[in-house]
């Protein structure tokens, strides 16, 4: 009964905590931008100029941050997009090729060009390894400068071209500064909205747990392309402002050192943070001003900082500022799932379709991992898959969830055949899974990790998130509520705000189950969920799985703990060397001579 009274008090406390949390998040930004706003009043034009430059750089870095810090794509040549934007605006406004454009139309065209080229440069990231992508952005940066030098009729070559000029009141140093500051604030707000949306979480998941994102139905190409569009547009817009600030641009103004500054500002700031890279940008912009004799060595200093951050403090400034996660956690905490909450979460009506595997065969080279396997996963039944190591259990699970394409045979759900080798198509059919080694995002909170599971449940588009429109806010409320519910189901709600890399191994296993439940699955596949759990925890896990089944979910359980298997399964398949050794109810399997002698012992 105690629970009831506290439940009534929760809404009030929740909103209060919500307000306090958002205040803590917003305050540093208010302080920084507030301080910036008084710079022209208390100092001279020179410092206003420096502050303008920092604001313009941040405009670019805030977009790039989503690419580098969130999605983890090492784009090192973003000065190319700054150059592109600067020349596009300058050339369009001066009218030396086409009739002169109005200023803001030129900025619009520049942003559009930036977005297009952002995607073109980003394309390799969709298919290639990290280093290849870094190299292709570097190559792009090299050729853009060469083009600016050589295409004299348009860019003025080495002589350069005049930058665009703003109309009053923005044509003074102070005026331009406030305009750029406004853009920077807007950029911060928009990227923060994305960062705190399902898109931002999906980006971090792509960075740290790419394999898991596929099972959750997140499309990496779609996510990356939209983020490249955004970052490219931001960068080119910043380029227009940069040209305005310079009043006259030559290719020399866009040295690769600038690219290095943008890139390193993010890494020094810390990945997956917005405040960190903002501070990083400010520090790197100001550093040469305070150490005038070192100005020539500034790139060297940046490089030293980068090396130091990589080797000594991979978390960057953001990790240093993360006080909340330094408080010790309660050491003797127990995971107590509350299966009773499940009906609230899994409201989807039970389907009567079955996942059917027919004649699946799959070899890796000469090794036959699966050899003519038939298997059914039926709603509201727990199907155990056991067998010695290397018998093809996990491989079977990977075939069903689309990570492996079998050479022959079909996986179908009811009447539809599931496309082979396409893991990202499974989530929409309500097929969820966990992994043998938990694949979570260590740097995100437990709650965020679970919310990642519901990414495809959101309704709003990226643009709606960018501008924090109602559908975005509704998505966020829905995802957070569902995620807290899922955390209560698995018994981790008290750890919701803790960074996931601080959790114990057993807690990560339950975290993955909570994330899988976010899909409101019709089928749940668990890959050795009991590995590394204590006896008590295994018992609770068993209870939880039974309750999940009770909601009409078909469960496939790959396990080594024979007790758990025989305790909760309705049907068991024993694999050996990729073939079915035995199949039947637990009591039948217990009687099966070969299984007993080969596997169960006795």
């Amino acid at each position: 009964m105690k629970a009831d009274t506290s439940a009534a008090a929760i809404p009030d406390r929740k909103t209060e905590r919500h307000w306090r949390d958002s205040a803590i998040h917003v305050l540093p930004f208010l302080a920084i931008f507030g301080f910036a706003a008084i710079v022209p009043m208390v100092t001279n034009d020179y410092w206003a100029l420096i502050a303008t430059r920092a604001a313009i750089y941040w405009m670019l870095v805030s977009g790039l941050n989503l690419v580098v810090g969130f999605a983890g794509q090492l784009a090192i040549g973003y000065v190319a997009l700054l150059t592109l934007g600067a020349y596009t605006t300058s050339v369009l406004v001066s009218g030396n090729v086409l009739p002169p454009f109005p200023l803001f139309a030129a900025f619009g065209v520049a942003a559009l060009f930036g977005a297009i080229f952002g995607v073109i440069v980003g394309l390799p990231a969709l298919r290639l390894r990290t280093f290849y992508f870094a190299m292709s952005t570097l190559g792009f940066a090299t050729i853009v400068t060469q083009i600016a030098l050589a295409w004299q009729s348009v860019t003025g070559g080495g002589i350069g071209i005049a930058g665009p000029e703003f109309p009053p009141p923005f044509n003074t140093t102070t005026g331009l500064f406030y305009f750029c500051l406004g853009c920077a604030v807007l950029g911060t707000w928009m990227t923060a909205n994305v960062a705190h949306s399902r898109f931002g979480r999906a980006l971090i998941a792509i960075r740290d747990a790419e394999v898991a994102t596929e099972s959750l139905g997140i499309s990496k190409p779609k996510m990356l392309v939209s983020i490249f569009l955004l970052a490219g547009a931001f960068a080119a817009f910043a380029g227009g402002l940069f040209a305005t600030l310079q009043t006259y641009i030559t290719p020399d103004a866009f040295s690769f050192d600038l690219s290095v500054l943008f890139f390193i500002a993010i890494l020094i700031g810390g990945r997956g943070s917005i405040l960190g890279p903002l501070l990083g940008t400010i520090i790197l912009t100001l550093l040469p001003e305070f150490a005038a004799p070192l100005a020539a060595w500034s790139t060297f200093l940046y490089a030293v900082l980068l090396l130091a951050v990589v080797l000594v403090a991979p978390g960057g400034i953001a990790a240093l500022l993360d006080f909340k996660n330094r408080r010790p956690l309660q050491s003797n905490r127990a995971i107590i799932p509350r299966p009773a909450v499940l009906p609230e979460l899994l409201s989807r009506e039970s389907a009567h379709t079955t996942i059917a595997l027919r004649d699946i065969s799959l070899s890796f080279g000469a090794v036959r991992a699966i050899d003519g396997l038939n298997l059914d996963i039926v709603p509201a039944r727990i199907h155990g898959l056991i067998g010695p190591n290397g018998s093809g259990k996990t491989t079977t699970l990977n075939v069903i969830s689309g990570y492996y394409a079998p050479q022959s045979g079909t996986v179908s759900l009811g009447d539809t055949e599931l496309p082979r080798g396409r893991p990202e198509t499974r989530a929409e059919h309500g097929i969820a899974r966990t992994f043998q080694t938990p694949r979570t995002v260590g740097e995100a909170s437990v709650l965020q990790n679970v919310m990642i599971g519901g990414t495809i449940a959101g309704q709003g588009t990226l643009v709606e998130s960018l501008l924090s429109l109602p559908r975005h806010r509704a998505d966020e409320r829905m995802l957070e509520e569902t995620a807290r519910l899922a955390l209560r189901v698995v018994g981790l709600e008290s750890l919701a705000s803790v960074r996931a890399d601080r959790l114990q191994h057993s807690e990560l296993r339950f975290l993955e189950i909570a994330r899988a439940l976010m899909l409101r699955p019709r089928f749940l596949m668990l890959d050795e969920p009991a590995a590394g759990l204590s006896v008590d925890e295994i018992a609770r896990l068993g209870g939880l799985i039974k309750e999940i089944k009770g909601q009409g979910v078909g469960v496939l359980l790959v396990e080594h703990h024979a007790d758990l298997i025989f305790d909760i399964c309705d049907q068991i398949t024993v694999l050996n060397l990729g073939r079915v050794l035995a199949a039947g109810t637990p009591s039948e399997i217990r009687q099966h001579k070969e299984v007993v002698s080969a596997y169960l012992g006795g």
Binding site: L74, L123, A134, M135, S136, V260, F300, V304, L307, P314
Partner: protein
């Protein structure tokens, strides 16, 4: 025109090929691609010019000093930027650490040497036209290096050890091979190859700090096209890239030749992510 495309294309292609071999040699023992590869090519030219032209050393000692200096840079790369991040290869931290080191090398060169292209000595005064050193020396250097590497990998014990580590790091360590020393040695070797490329191509590319990032990119293209770790692919890819670039240079002019190379790089990689001679990737789950 065709003759000059061939001559300059093959010459510059040989330099790209050797930088590609530098990438491969570093990669083979560490599974790491380093941004210092192109910088070493740049350093080969700078050190060569420094020792032979400024300090007046004879050619052979000058070359040896150049290669030694580059080898030192290679060893520093291994100690500072590669070894500390090998533990977590999947986080791709090496991209950042080697980039940081490459930037330091470049900045030091820019400040202590010059930001303008400096002349490189003429070593062989044979004659005009295509007998000029700048056309044949890089090709000769490339041939010598490839033959030397083949000999090393096939005939010597150290070479066998390199191959063993490249094939299977864990098994090689289990056999008791000194993996760390071999890795350092391979970085020194790779760096010397990069330096040799810069030295041989010195007349063509000059002792110029901006060659660093340029060679980084153009040296990586053959690696990407030929497949990572495949030296034969790198040589074929390098020469083809040189010819392609020079042909584009003559046909459509300077700017568009670099655009053409970039577009080719992207298109080929999107079509064949493992390179034209590469093998397919491992499993992920």
């Amino acid at each position: 025109m065709l003759a000059s495309i061939l001559a300059s294309g093959l010459a510059v292609g040989a330099v790209y090929a050797l930088i590609g071999v530098t990438y491969n040699t570093m990669f083979s023992t560490s599974r790491v691609m380093s941004f210092t590869a192109g910088q070493l090519g740049m350093l080969g030219g700078v050190f060569g010019s420094l020792f032979v032209l400024r300090l007046g050393l004879p050619v052979i000692p000058g070359l040896i000093a150049t290669l030694l200096c580059c080898a030192v840079v290679g060893v520093i790369t291994e100690i500072l930027a590669v070894r500390p991040v090998l533990k977590s290869l999947d986080q791709h931290l090496y991209v950042l650490s080697t980039l940081a080191l490459a930037l330091m090398v470049q900045q030091i060169t820019a400040i202590e040497w010059s930001t303008e292209p400096q002349p490189f000595p003429k070593i062989f005064d044979i004659g005009p036209g295509f007998l000029d050193q700048k056309f044949w020396l890089p090709i000769a250097a490339c041939a010598v290096t490839i033959v030397g590497l083949e000999f090393l990998y096939r005939r010597t014990l150290v070479g066998h050890a390199f191959v063993a580590i490249a094939e299977d790091n864990f098994a090689a360590r289990a056999l008791g091979l000194p993996e760390r020393n071999l890795r350092m040695a391979s970085y020194a070797l790779a760096a010397a190859i990069g330096g040799f490329a810069g030295f041989a191509g010195g007349q063509l590319l000059l002792a110029f700090v901006a060659n660093g990032p340029l060679l980084n990119f153009y040296g990586f293209v053959p690696v990407a096209l030929g497949g990572l770790g495949n030296n034969r692919g790198a040589v074929v890819g390098g020469l083809a890239l040189g010819l392609f670039q020079q042909a584009a240079n003559f046909l459509v002019g300077g700017i568009f030749s670099s655009v053409a190379v970039f577009v080719m790089f992207i298109v080929v990689l999107l079509a064949a992510p493992q390179g034209l001679f590469g093998s397919s990737s491992a499993r992920r789950v």
